[in-house]
Amino acid sequence: MDQTAFLVVVLVVALALFFDFTNGFHDTANAMATPIATGAMKPRTAVILAAVMNLIGAFISTAVAKTISVDTINGDLTKWGPAMIFAGLTGAILWNLITWFFGLPSSSSHALFGGLIGAAIVYGGFDAVNVTKIVEKVLIPALFAPFIAGVAAWLATSLAYIITGRSKNVATGRGKFKVGQVFSSSLVALSHGTNDAQKTMGVITLVLVAAGLQSGDAGVPFWVILSAAAAIALGTFSGGWRIIKTMGHGLAEIRPAQGFAAEVATGSTILASSYLGFALSTTQVASGSVIGSGLGRIGAKVRWGKAGQIVIGWFLTLPAAAAVGMLSALLTRGLGTAGLVLDAVLAIILIVVIFQMSRKNNINHKSLAESGVEEVGVAIASPKQVRKEAAKAKKAAKGKAKK
């Protein structure tokens, strides 16, 4: 293998690990948004616990990684070489970062599928796309996952409130659900690590096979398991605070009993779907659970506007990631190694721009701990909205000074 080809492999592996990192911080909210929202755990403690659980989960099994096959694409992914996978990963990463910027919980797996589909279209034409599988594996689950989890969470929340209802002179004691939340959210984080870290392991293994560095039937190398586990744990530890804020406060007002019910519903839906072979997106399940638990408590508000934005994000994930993947693949296919380098430079520039823009409206564990439910929705705003709010505040202050 010549030096250039080796460097390409290194670049693709690094990008795959970065995707794993974004997957981690994008999905921290699935397990930890509700315990943070109810005060069951401090934000930092919650993300540390989630990171540890994801790390352990990644080591439980490499089954998914070994058998990874992107059913939504016809043909063998390895035949197009590492450059095609690179283009697909670019699409997935950029879509993950865009949805993170807007605080929208969306499926990282769907972003990965989307990116790879877009790249595959450029390399293999539209015949490379398996539309039937997209309907079966992406669209139908996207319709049912939040609904199933929502019904489960609604029923569980209603039962929790009926059983612990206030009776004569006896307090409800619902604060005790916070203890349960620690365990239920840990289970969700563990199951996330078991599923999602393995996708990156699979992608890296695919790259190694495509580059001829490993045979197709060999297992996942230990360094791949270790690096993928570390990347997802590190990403989780970084805490996708923007999405945590949306899931914890932006969708519904969550109290400990609701939080516990939502996590149990998320955990049982994911476990049941994995066990029975009907793959569902963790993010969509968790979002549905939060809405369901919001509906389960009498007097709780569900913010349907935000829920609508999230659903739009879900349905845009596949085509948007595919579009970026296509653009990226056009460069890698047309210009070869130079295109790949250009792709990498452009991706880095865009990533830096998104991070810089996010700093203007920074959300971190401190602001999350200090914020109340009422101010949420404003906190997750576009820079334009932030400027508008600032101008409004300035105007109000001037008005006061005049008086």
């Binding site: 039937t132 079966e136 569980a156 039962l159 659900f177 078991t194």
Partner: protein, 89 residues
């Protein structure tokens, strides 16, 4: 030809709804009984022996409810691990 596994989907829905209702019911029962136990201790105008035995009964039942809820969750963990191992084979 689009092939949707409706049976699997119905089973996922049934298992998810059933299990979450079961775990939350057990845990909520534990919370309720524990709160009742605390109330029994603080109760006034009752004989001391009577409130103590009530408190113990409430606490004991609460522990059983929590243990059952934990067992279901632990079974979920067991499924997660063994299922992953099965897939690996």
């Amino acid at each position: 030809m689009i092939e949707i596994k409706w049976n699997d989907l119905i089973m996922v829905a049934g298992a998810a709804i059933g299990v979450s209702a079961l775990v939350v019911t057990l845990f909520a029962l534990g919370v309720r009984l524990l709160t009742n136990a605390q109330h029994a201790v603080a109760g006034k105008g009752k004989k001391k022996g009577e409130s103590v035995s009530k408190e113990i009964a409430f606490r004991f039942t609460a522990v059983i409810a929590f243990a059952l809820a934990s067992s279901v969750m632990a079974y979920g963990l067991y499924i997660l691990v063994t299922f992953s191992k099965l897939q690996a084979k």
